[in-house]
Symmetry: C2
Subunit: 244 residues, 2 copies
């Protein structure tokens, strides 16, 4: 069966997240499935590399979709671009091996969290950053971020309290950089638990404010949700890249 | 009398332009005057460096305002930031000489026009760019832009057909650059007629498409509006800086 790979960007601002839900069509997955089914004239389901939360953005979400249609990829791409709303953009549509699975084959994911760390007004990017003008110790935050690197039990960084599957994940890199008025958190790992990036960033912020020592991060591995930091709001988060 | 200088950014997307209008309060000037009058507890009027069109943005608009209030500038700034909507940002509030006039004293203004020149989706900056994926000859466009530099009669680049005042303006620099998927037009001059930047960019686009020769620009000085190019949409335009 034909298998299509879609590379997707979206502004998650007005959506209830990636994943299709009953009783609403305002999720990214539902929106794309609706339009794609109409274009291909068959009912299709798309599989994303993973869910993104309500309000979270993506520059490099990847999805795949099995179909019978013989419509050329360029034509599918052109029609998707024509009919999708302007806050969902399709970078490419490609034929891939029937065995390609956007979620199961994902090797790494990279997320970016943007924090506007200034009293100065943030007019143009206001929908893509979280705002906190507090003084932050960047050196301590990077030290703490380094502690996340490696394989650890991220139970304390998972919103799902009844998680039955493994909460062990591998973090490859985690950088904290000042860029103009912003602090940019960039984390790459083999997978992320529900809300994991937003809770890690919330915890790093507490380190940056001196509320939590940088070297206390390892104490949180295998700990409970209550021991880690606050959940940051979703609009600062963006799924940047998925590798296979 | 005390004179305040305000440095302002705004996302013009949901406003009917800078200038206060009868029958609506959805202009930037009206919005700021309303809030500022409430903060200072006296009726104030602000004078901008110039109008911006409905939908046009600003990163460096400057305004001044006479008042009697003795409230410290920091307090005025903090209150403006607290009460203004998030699409209007105040960079600073400063005491300036009573003679400072944001419009009359302006020496140069710099505008930037952003054109998304790609088939690739533009999801995140879609409200700040105009989209045209046509192939454009950048060398010809820069040649044509260079023709604008100097003192010329820009009558053909003025939306106001019954302009009674001089249509002579001085353009200092005009650059056309490719930055990623975008073509960025940046023009600095001593003043701009109504819609002048948007008509100049529209004319340059026709040069870039080969519809109009680069060296034909000088023929347009002193000509009529019909001879110049199309008016570009306002959302790609941003007032970047005013110098005094």
């Amino acid at each position: 069966m034909r298998n299509l790979r879609l590379d997707i960007s979206y502004d998650g601002g007005r959506y209830k997240g990636w994943q299709r839900l009953a009783n609403t069509d305002s999720t990214i997955q539902a929106k794309i499935e609706q339009i794609l089914s109409r274009i291909l004239q068959e009912q299709v389901e798309i599989v994303g590399s993973g869910r993104t939360d309500a309000g979270t953005h993506a520059m490099g979400q990847v999805a795949n979709c099995h179909c019978n249609s013989t419509m050329p990829c360029e034509e599918i791409l052109a029609q998707l671009r024509r009919y999708l709303p302007e806050d969902i953009g399709i970078h490419s549509v490609k034929n891939v091996s029937p065995r390609f699975h956007a979620r199961l084959n994902a090797k790494t994911k990279t997320y970016r969290y943007r924090l506007w760390n200034s009293e100065a007004p943030c007019v143009f990017d206001r929908k893509y950053v979280s705002i906190d003008p507090a003084h932050l110790n960047l050196v301590d935050m990077q030290k703490a971020a380094d502690c996340f690197v490696g394989e650890h039990d991220f139970s304390a960084f998972c919103a799902n309290k009844n998680m039955k599957k493994s909460t062990v994940r591998y973090i490859q890199t985690f950088s904290v950089e000042q860029v103009g008025h912003e602090i940019i958190f960039t984390v790459t790992g083999n997978g992320f638990l529900h809300n994991m990036v937003r809770i890690m960033v919330g915890t790093l912020l507490e380190v940056g404010k001196g509320v939590r020592p940088a070297d206390s991060i390892p104490n949180l591995f295998g700990a409970t949700r209550a021991e880690a930091g606050v959940l940051m709001e979703s609009k600062g988060l963006c799924l940047m890249e998925v590798t296979y």
